[in-house]
């Protein structure tokens, strides 16, 4: 069934988009991430312009992280204090990100920046995660005990605050900065940032695993809602019809993914996720390096007067 997307200005097959939403939802439910880093590239590959893809995926991630956040809230697995501090940075970062997005779009370099960010970020995170997963897998094979975590330089920073539910005593500076960075790249790349945020919170901020996913979902939810709003106001690029189809597919797929994820061991899960992230990054890199089919592109400049 063909449906005309009003903002993307493109007819698409509803079932294709629904299936994409469900597939990404499955993966995101399995790994406990938002899945934006998969959704945005998929939309770009089916011909939706990167700008519209990034802006529309924001609302899709908001939906999936809201359903996730609700269930974590019921299980008291969200640290409200930590979430609010993260959000101070997150909201600012999102605003900066959308502003940068608009500037890059005017310069005609948005598509390039999106592709480059994907290559750099996914390449780095993917290889780190993959190698870490591989090491962990080898350790368990040999039966060795994982090295005990120690405090790092981050715990020596001033402005410390007690986060009761997470049972940590931590400076607000790194927390705000992490929120800022995630909000910024999220708005530009159309990702929730969960797949970067969760490792950062675990390894750098030493947030316990009991609250880490729920709290990161709150950050994702608010920054993505805010990004949706800003993209809609400044760039008029949010395709609500596209977003709705993605959401419905996504939240459904996520439920089955979560069940599948419980059957796989943690290290294997990380290894798989690392591989997945890495392959998306490589896909973008290849796109940049090979000669494009057409060197010229046309774009209409705003609403003509």
């Amino acid at each position: 069934m063909q449906l005309y997307l009003p903002i993307a200005d493109l007819p698409v097959n509803v079932f294709l988009v629904l299936a994409m939403g469900a597939a990404v939802g499955f993966v995101s439910g399995m790994f406990g991430i938002g899945g934006g880093f998969l959704m945005t590239p998929l939309l770009i590959f089916i011909g939706i312009t990167p700008a519209v893809a990034v802006a529309s995926v924001a609302s899709h991630i908001a939906a999936s992280s809201f359903s996730g956040a609700l269930s974590y809230w019921r299980r008291r697995a969200i640290d409200p204090a930590l979430a609010s501090v993260l959000l101070c940075g997150g909201v600012t970062g999102t605003a900066l990100g959308v502003w940068t997005f608009t500037q890059l779009r005017a310069l005609g370099q948005l598509d390039l920046m999106i592709a480059l960010s994907y290559v750099v970020l996914l390449g780095t995170v993917g290889s780190l995660m993959f190698s870490e997963g591989l090491r962990a897998l080898m350790r368990t094979r040999r039966g060795a005990i994982p090295p005990r975590r120690t405090h790092n330089w981050i715990h020596g920073l001033p402005l410390k605050m007690r986060f009761k539910r997470s049972k940590i005593y931590l400076s607000v500076i790194p927390v705000v900065i992490v929120g800022l960075v995630i909000g910024f790249i999220g708005a530009i790349m159309g990702i929730g940032g969960g797949f970067i945020l969760v490792p950062i919170m675990i390894y750098l901020l030493r947030v316990p695993t009991s609250t880490v996913i729920g709290t990161s979902m709150v950050l994702t939810l608010v920054t993505m809602l805010f990004a949706t709003l800003l993209h809609a106001v400044t760039n008029h690029l949010v395709d609500a019809v596209l977003a709705l189809i993605l959401m419905v597919g996504g939240v459904t797929g996520a439920q089955f993914g979560a069940r599948a994820g419980q059957k796989i061991r943690g290290e294997q899960l990380r290894l798989l996720l690392g591989l997945l992230i890495l392959s998306v990054g490589i896909r973008f890199a290849v796109e940049l390096v090979i000669r494009p089919e057409d060197l010229f592109t046309i774009r209409e400049m705003g609403a003509s007067g």
């Binding site: 899709h60 908001a62 939906a63 809609a232 949010v238 046309i298």
Partner: protein, 255 residues
């Protein structure tokens, strides 16, 4: 008073010197684009009316029909290999160019009239004025300019620019018709149709008509709201996201 009379006479004789009158009509003056619209073809038909002053030797006519969609500013960018990757480097702005452009004739443009008249009357895609901003200046460039030809090529690929020198058919020596194909992703707005009449290579007259393309339905409502009420649209989308998420958490709640 005398001056006015003189002016009136000139006007009268001026029009009389034309000798032919073109009468045209489009099959549909208002095309509605619905969600399952997948292109359409309009038909333009008309006739050449001769009067007493028409020279007797004018037996065959040539017609050029130009259809121009709503105008918009566009930018064409060129990618170049920089540091091993392909980057948009150079660009040209095309100012107020038609978003849809079709040129139809009953025989090849170069056989209808001389290159000089073709240029003046903008006959053929190579002769249509496409204003570019070239370092602060406004001008059209030579037809084989890389950006201009790429622009026309890309628009043609999308079915938005076209040139067909056999689309106009004369049913009788004076009665003619032509189809105006509209692609699925047709720009909405007012379309101008200009019909130019040639006889023995000389431009003898023209007439114009318009038609309108409007989008209707839910999609159009969404697109208009997004453009005009960005904030409301954003809020509704955000609310929709929350609703979907909430519904999912209820439907799939594990009790």
């Amino acid at each position: 008073m005398r001056a006015l009379l003189a002016a009136l006479l000139v006007l009268l004789f001026g029009s009389a010197a034309r000798a032919e009158r073109l009468i045209v009509s489009v099959s549909n003056h208002r095309v509605t684009v619905t969600p399952n619209y997948s292109g359409e073809e309009l038909v333009l038909f008309g006739s050449v009316e001769k009067d007493a002053t028409t020279p007797a030797d004018r037996s065959s006519y040539d017609l050029v029909v130009t259809v121009m969609g709503p105008r918009a500013d566009m930018v064409t960018r060129r990618k170049e290999r920089t540091f091993g990757i392909w980057i948009n480097t150079d660009y040209r702005q095309f100012l107020q160019v038609p978003s849809y452009l079709a040129l139809f004739a009953n025989r090849p443009f170069d056989r209808i009239t001389s290159p000089e008249i073709a240029r003046r009357q903008q006959i053929g895609l190579n002769n249509v004025l496409l204003t570019q901003r070239v370092s602060g200046d406004f001008a059209d460039v030579v037809p084989n300019d890389a950006f201009r030809s790429a622009f026309i090529r890309l628009r043609t690929q999308r079915g938005l620019y076209r040139e067909d020198a056999s689309a106009v058919t004369f049913l009788t020596p004076t009665l003619f018709r032509t189809g105006i194909p509209l692609p699925a992703e047709v720009p909405i707005g007012t379309y101008e149709v200009e019909i130019k009449l040639f006889a023995n290579g000389a431009f003898v007259g023209k007439t114009a008509t318009t038609f309108e393309i409007v989008k209707v339905g839910f999609e159009q409502f969404v697109a208009t709201t997004a453009r005009q009420n960005g904030l409301v649209y954003g809020l509704v989308t955000a609310a929709m996201a929350l609703m979907t998420g909430w519904m999912a958490s209820i439907v799939f709640r594990k009790d």
